[in-house]
Structures are given as structure tokens and as C-alpha cells.
């Protein structure tokens, strides 16, 4: 009996001592060795995975290390592969952590507070930059800035320093299924004879309404894929769709940002949104629970003709019912003046920033890594071919265009001589503004609120949030 007790005590002591040691030892466990690049699983938080990567300090040689907190879960694996290639070539450890969808800001916040903070992170534009500007290293002398084809793709601070650099240009619009649209055109009484006839909102509405009326004959569930307001999908409307009235207002007023919007084009905004929710695959009362995957699968399985999204959606819809050659893109017409010339919405909300509070060695390592990514063949190949990005860098020549039919469709539109709609949603005053607008839109859609609330959220909310954010 006594012996067992003693053994027990010994075991417990050992267990406790082990626990203590393990707690302290974690920091230096894989020091200097190649850190395992980790990615967060889609639903996990980035925080846990960094622990696995091991908090190794800069190696004694002073070479520095790179820690990239990636924003795009779609390309998580490709980034890890690219980082491994770089480590193999140069021996510089590169850790890539991807924040789960929709949690980038909170992951960044907690990661930046750590001793081993990300050396490379992302902001989504001028508004995102506002909260992180004190952490942005001036990239003016960096190779990656020099490779940028135009200053339009850089975030310039008030003092003229280069705070962020866009690394991907994206385009969104109304993705449509050419085959289904042709099926419709071949029916009796179709209001258009070719997809090219859709040149304004009036035609778009006529077509959508007619398709909706004939949906059973066409074997589809609705003209538009569901306008879901789950967090995985609501940004398509509260941010991307709301960009259109904003774009036209800025255009009319000749401005690029404002402290108070007037909402000149909100009636047009209502028109297009009404179209989305009435000619839809589901009842408007179900919208609050519809996810981004729902809409993507409705489109990919050929249940809807139109689907508002961008070039990045290709990965989600490929290899399903819709063949690559059947993918087309239309501008989102809202019935504003001069829209015959309106193109797709093109811009960027992915800017690289280098953490100015990181050590000299790590900053240098990060800049070298970025240079390698945009200049070496392996890096360019990874970015363009593996990840499918269209980049704003002059080093990416013709052969580095991604094989993405949506990108090709977007290119076609530019060649037609249309004017691309800029991404003005990067000037929206805060995430809170978008959320308020999204909630108001949802309530309007499902019938528990009215359109006035949307107008209030859009106009009054802008002024209030701008005030709050800039004080």
C-alpha cells in the first residue's frame, strides 16, 4: 500500500515537472530548424496553428525569418507550398498562417501582440490601413514597389510613404451561365437574341423576369442565385453591390472619397437589389440563412443563370455542371446614366504590408521574400498559375496569365473598350457601416424592415461612422 502511494507520488511529480518543462521549452524546440509551415483549417483559428509552427527567434546568423499572415483561405495551400520552395532555395524560414474566412482582423490583432508577430500582413485598403498605419514599414525603396506597374496599386500614406502594395487585381460582376442563357434565347418569345444585348438595367430586368417566369421550362430554380445574408455571403451585397451606387455618386461628384455620402443612386441600388431577391432561387424570408456555398452550388449545378461574384469564385464553381467555356461575366447594371459603357468592377483589396515593428533582419528577410515572389520564375509561377492571381507587377509577362475563364471573360470586357468600375468600397468608413447596411438590407428583403432603413444606414450611418473612425 505504502509502495503504491510512493509510486503514485513519484508519477504525479514527474507529470507536473514534465508539464512545467514542456511549457517553457516550447519556445526553443525547433529553433533554427526549418519551421513547419502551417495553415489554419478553414474553421480553425489562426492562433492555435502558430503555436505548432514554433516560436523560433531569428537565427543567430542574423538572416531573419518571414512570417506571413495570409488573408485568402482559397490559396492557403499554395502559399505554404511556395514558402517551402523558398526555404529550400535560400534556407530562410518562412511561416505562412492563414486566418479562417472572415476572421482576418481578429487573428491579426492577436498575432501582432505576440513577440513573434507577423512580418508580412495584409490590409484591405485605405480604411483598413488606418488602424494599422503605425505598423507599416515604408516600402518606397523596396524591389517589390519598383516592380509595381502603377502607383494606383500602392497605398500611399499622408507623408508620402508607401504603406501597402496590392498583389492581386480582381474583377467582379454578374457571372452567368452561357448555356442556360442560350437555352432561354432559343425559346419562343425571348426578349433578347444574344447575351450582348444586355447593355443596360432595363434589358437585364426584362431578361431576368422572363427567365424567372419560365424557370420550370428551363429546368432551373431561379434567374439569380440566392442572395444569402449569412456572413459567408453578405459581403457580396453590403460591400460589392453597394459599390455601384457609390461609384456613380463619386463619378457624378468628381471625388474619390467623402466624409458624407448623399445616396444619389440609392433608387438604382434598390432596383437591382429588388431584382436579386424577387427573381431568385429561394423565398426572400430564407435569405438570412443562405450561405456563400449555397449560392455557389446553385450556380455551379446549373440551377441559376446569374450569380454575382468575382474572378476568385472560379475555384468554387469549376468541375461541376457548368463547363468552363460556359462561364461569362456581365457588368452589374443598376440603371444609372451612361451605363452602356459600364464595364466590370475591377480593383484590389489585398495589400501587402511589412511590419515595421519587426526586427531589422526579419524586415530584410521579408523584403527579400517578396522580391523573390514577384521576380523569380518559381514565385511568379506560384502566384499566377497555382493561385490564379492577376497581379499588378510589371514582371508578370504574357505567359504568366492564370488559366481562369472568369479572368478571360473580364479581359474581354476591357478589350471591348468599356470603362471598368473602380472598387470604391475600400473607402467605406468602417466594417460597422457595412454590417449596419447589410442588416438593413436583409430586413428589407425578408419584409421585416423597409427601404428607408437601408437609406438611413447608407447615408446617416456613413456620416456617423466616418466621424467615429476619424476622431
Amino acid at each position: 500500500m505504502k509502495k503504491t502511494k510512493k509510486m503514485m507520488a513519484l508519477w504525479l511529480t514527474a507529470a507536473m515537472a514534465f508539464g512545467t518543462l514542456a511549457g517553457c521549452g516550447g519556445g526553443s524546440a525547433d529553433q533554427g530548424s526549418e519551421p513547419a509551415a502551417t495553415t489554419a483549417p478553414a474553421a480553425g483559428s489562426g492562433t492555435e496553428t502558430t503555436a505548432a509552427a514554433g516560436g523560433s527567434d531569428a537565427p543567430a546568423s542574423g538572416e531573419g525569418a518571414v512570417y506571413y499572415l495570409n488573408f485568402k483561405p482559397e490559396q492557403a495551400d499554395q502559399w505554404v507550398a511556395l514558402a517551402e520552395t523558398y526555404t529550400k532555395e535560400t534556407g530562410v524560414p518562412v511561416t505562412v498562417v492563414t486566418a479562417a474566412s472572415g476572421t482576418y482582423e481578429q487573428t491579426l490583432k492577436s498575432e501582432m501582440a505576440k513577440t513573434e508577430a507577423p512580418t508580412l500582413f495584409q490590409v484591405n485598403g485605405p480604411v483598413g490601413l488606418a488602424s494599422w498605419k503605425d505598423y507599416c514599414y515604408d516600402l518606397k525603396d523596396s524591389a517589390v514597389y519598383k516592380d509595381l506597374s502603377s502607383d494606383d496599386f500602392a497605398l500611399i500614406g499622408d507623408d508620402g510613404s508607401v504603406k501597402g502594395i496590392a498583389y492581386v487585381i480582381e474583377t467582379y460582376g454578374l457571372i452567368y451561365n452561357k448555356k442556360l442563357l442560350n437555352d432561354y434565347i432559343n425559346m419562343d418569345g425571348a426578349v433578347i437574341t444574344s447575351a450582348d444585348d444586355i447593355k443596360d438595367f432595363a434589358t437585364l430586368k426584362k431578361v431576368a423576369d422572363d427567365i424567372q417566369a419560365k424557370k420550370d421550362d428551363l429546368g432551373i430554380a431561379g434567374a439569380f442565385a440566392s442572395a444569402g445574408f449569412d456572413a459567408s455571403s453578405d459581403w457580396r451585397f453590403k460591400t460589392h453591390l453597394a459599390n455601384l451606387p457609390l461609384y456613380y455618386e463619386y463619378l457624378a461628384d468628381g471625388i474619390t472619397s467623402t466624409d458624407a455620402v448623399k445616396g444619389t443612386y440609392l433608387d438604382n441600388f434598390k432596383q437591382i437589389f429588388d431584382l436579386y431577391i424577387t427573381d431568385s432561387t429561394c423565398a426572400p424570408t430564407l435569405l438570412s440563412g443562405k450561405t456563400g456555398e449555397d449560392a455557389a452550388s446553385e450556380f455551379a449545378l446549373g440551377e441559376a443563370v446569374f450569380y454575382q461574384n468575382g474572378t476568385w469564385a472560379y475555384n468554387d464553381i469549376k468541375d461541376n455542371e457548368v463547363a468552363d467555356e460556359d462561364l461569362g461575366m456581365l457588368p452589374i447594371f443598376i440603371g444609372a446614366d451612361k451605363e452602356a459603357n459600364q464595364g466590370l468592377c475591377t480593383g484590389s483589396e489585398n495589400y501587402w504590408c511589412v511590419n515595421s515593428k519587426a526586427s531589422e533582419a526579419n524586415i530584410q528577410a521579408t523584403l527579400d521574400f517578396l522580391q523573390w515572389v514577384v521576380e523569380s520564375d518559381a514565385g511568379k509561377n506560384g502566384l499566377a498559375k497555382e493561385m490564379g492571381f492577376v497581379t499588378p507587377f510589371s514582371t508578370f509577362t504574357e505567359e504568366y496569365l492564370p488559366a481562369n475563364p472568369l479572368v478571360a471573360a473580364a479581359d474581354e470586357y476591357v478589350k471591348k473598350g468599356t470603362v471598368s468600375v473602380t472598387w470604391n468600397f475600400t473607402t467605406m468608413p468602417s466594417e460597422e457601416w457595412k454590417n449596419q447596411l447589410g442588416s438593413a438590407m436583409l430586413e428589407y428583403a425578408q419584409g421585416t424592415g423597409n427601404w428607408d432603413a437601408v437609406v438611413t444606414a447608407f447615408v446617416d450611418g456613413w456620416a456617423a461612422e466616418y466621424q467615429a473612425a476619424n476622431n
Partner: protein, 280 residues
């Protein structure tokens, strides 16, 4: 032996004390300090006084979350304890398969809150689909969804505690009551209930604090939709801290207020039910 323990107690206490300080006291103090600061990352804060606390009131979501949480707490405490006690009574009768039933009722408690939330959102959305509604259609659906979810999860656990309490009621007391001609209802009211008062204290304490602090289920089931209307306090704090740039301090201040609220409620409840407990 006693002397040895006395002499060496700092050595034995030290590891735990260190862990407790690092894991609890230090973060708590830092948290309180941060509630008076403006910051983006927590190691880079500037002191701004009480303005975070005044902002709590201007942000209407906190007040809404407060009464929504209170209502939810009241409803779920009543439901969970009533059903848990009723089932416990049933399963202490001599009926066949009590052990099986107990296990089955207890099992939901072994599933994590996030998973439960997603599973139930699928289930409830599936049912609501019949009437073309979703859980996030309005906060009323979200509210009852949460109540159902919490009942399903917690009743089993509370039932186990009640069963233990009921089994501890001395058989001779019940027998004596029976001999005196007490009806079943009278036995329940005058013998069983007073004797299981300690279990009631524990169960109301657990359900009260659990419901008041509920987070993962709320996050997974509705995530506060629509328009933050189905947001409980903990989720409200979380979304203020992480969801709004520049509002980190306000989120922190809300957390401090939340701590005080939970403290007051828990202590009051404990005092109130303790009073009703009796010695055997």
C-alpha cells in the same frame, strides 16, 4: 507531519500560485487596465480614462444584449431545472432501464457547444423551412432556438446532480412520512425538496452562470443575426472587441462590466438558495 507541511507549504503552493497568477490574475489585471485604454494590439495601449465606459451606453447593442441575456437566463434556468428535476424524479423510481435512460439523457452534454450550435441550426432551419423562415429571420426564433438547444444540452447534466441529491434523501424519512399518511405530493414538497436543496443550489448556480455567460452556442446558432438582435452579452463583447476597429477598449470595458454583473448575480443567488438549505 503537520509541521513538515507547514514548513514546506510555500514550495507546494508555488507552482499552482504561479500558474494561477499567470493564467488568471495577471490577465485579469491587464484586462481591467486595458478597459481604460485605447489600443489596437494589447501591448501598445494609451490611457484615456473613462471614455470607454461612457461609450458602452451610446452603443445600443450592449443594453439590448443585456436584457436579451437576462430574459434568456430566466427562461432557460426555469426550463432546465424544472425538466431536469422532473426527469430525475422519474429515473429514481424503480422502472426498467433507468441506467440506460440516464446515460442517454446525459450524452448531449458531452458534445461541444460549437458543434451543437451548428447541428441545431441545421435541424431547426430544416423545420422552419416548412414555413419559409430561418432561425435568423428574427430574434424571436433565435431566442427559442437557443432555449431549446440549452435545454437539450444541460438537462442531462443537471438531472445527474438531482438524481444524486434525491438518492441521498434518507429512506427512513420518506418511510416515516408515508406511515404518517403523507401523499406523494406532500412527500415531494415537505421531504424531498428541502433535502435536495444543496443540489438545487448547485444546479441553479450552474444554469444561471452558464446561461449568462453563454457564448459558443450563440455564436454557432445565430451569430447574433439579424442585426445583433439575438446577441447575448458574451458574444456582444466579442464582436465589439474584434468586429469594430477602434472599439477594442470599449469591448474590454464591457467585459469588466460583465464580470461585475456575473459576480453580483452569482453571489446573490448563492446566498439566497443557501438560506433554504437545511442540515440533515
Amino acid at each position: 507531519m503537520d509541521k513538515a507541511i507547514k514548513r514546506y507549504f510555500p514550495i507546494f503552493v508555488l507552482p499552482t500560485l504561479l500558474a494561477f497568477t499567470m493564467g488568471f490574475i495577471a490577465p485579469f489585471l491587464v484586462g481591467v487596465w486595458l478597459s481604460f485604454c485605447k489600443f489596437t494590439t494589447i501591448n501598445d495601449a494609451t490611457f484615456i480614462g473613462f471614455s470607454n465606459y461612457t461609450k458602452i451606453l451610446t452603443d445600443g447593442t450592449f443594453v439590448h444584449a443585456l436584457w436579451y441575456t437576462s430574459l434568456f437566463t430566466i427562461v432557460s434556468v426555469i426550463f432546465i431545472n424544472f425538466f431536469a428535476f422532473a426527469i430525475a424524479l422519474l429515473l429514481t423510481r424503480k422502472i426498467k432501464g433507468t441506467n440506460l435512460f440516464r446515460t442517454v439523457f446525459f450524452m448531449p452534454n458531452l458534445i461541444g457547444g460549437i458543434i451543437l450550435g451548428y447541428v441545431w441550426s441545421l435541424l431547426l432551419n430544416g423545420i422552419l423551412l416548412q414555413v419559409e423562415r430561418t432561425l435568423t429571420y428574427s430574434s424571436v426564433y433565435g431566442f427559442w432556438g437557443l432555449v431549446i438547444l440549452m435545454c437539450w444540452q444541460q438537462i442531462g447534466y443537471m438531472m445527474i446532480i438531482y438524481i444524486a441529491g434525491i438518492q441521498n434523501v434518507p429512506g427512513d424519512l420518506v418511510e416515516a412520512a408515508k406511515i404518517d399518511g403523507a401523499t406523494n405530493w406532500q412527500i415531494l414538497k415537505n421531504v424531498t425538496l428541502p433535502m435536495v436543496m444543496p443540489s438545487i443550489t448547485i444546479c441553479t448556480f450552474l444554469t444561471l452562470t452558464n446561461s449568462f455567460k453563454l457564448f459558443d452556442q450563440n455564436l454557432a446558432l445565430t451569430n447574433g443575426e439579424p442585426s445583433n438582435m439575438s446577441e447575448l452579452l458574451a458574444l456582444n463583447i466579442f464582436s465589439t472587441f474584434y468586429g469594430r476597429a477602434g472599439w477594442e477598449g470599449v469591448g474590454q470595458a464591457k467585459a469588466v462590466v460583465f464580470f461585475i454583473l456575473v459576480g453580483i448575480i452569482a453571489v446573490t443567488q448563492n446566498v439566497l438558495t443557501r438560506r433554504k438549505e437545511i442540515e440533515q
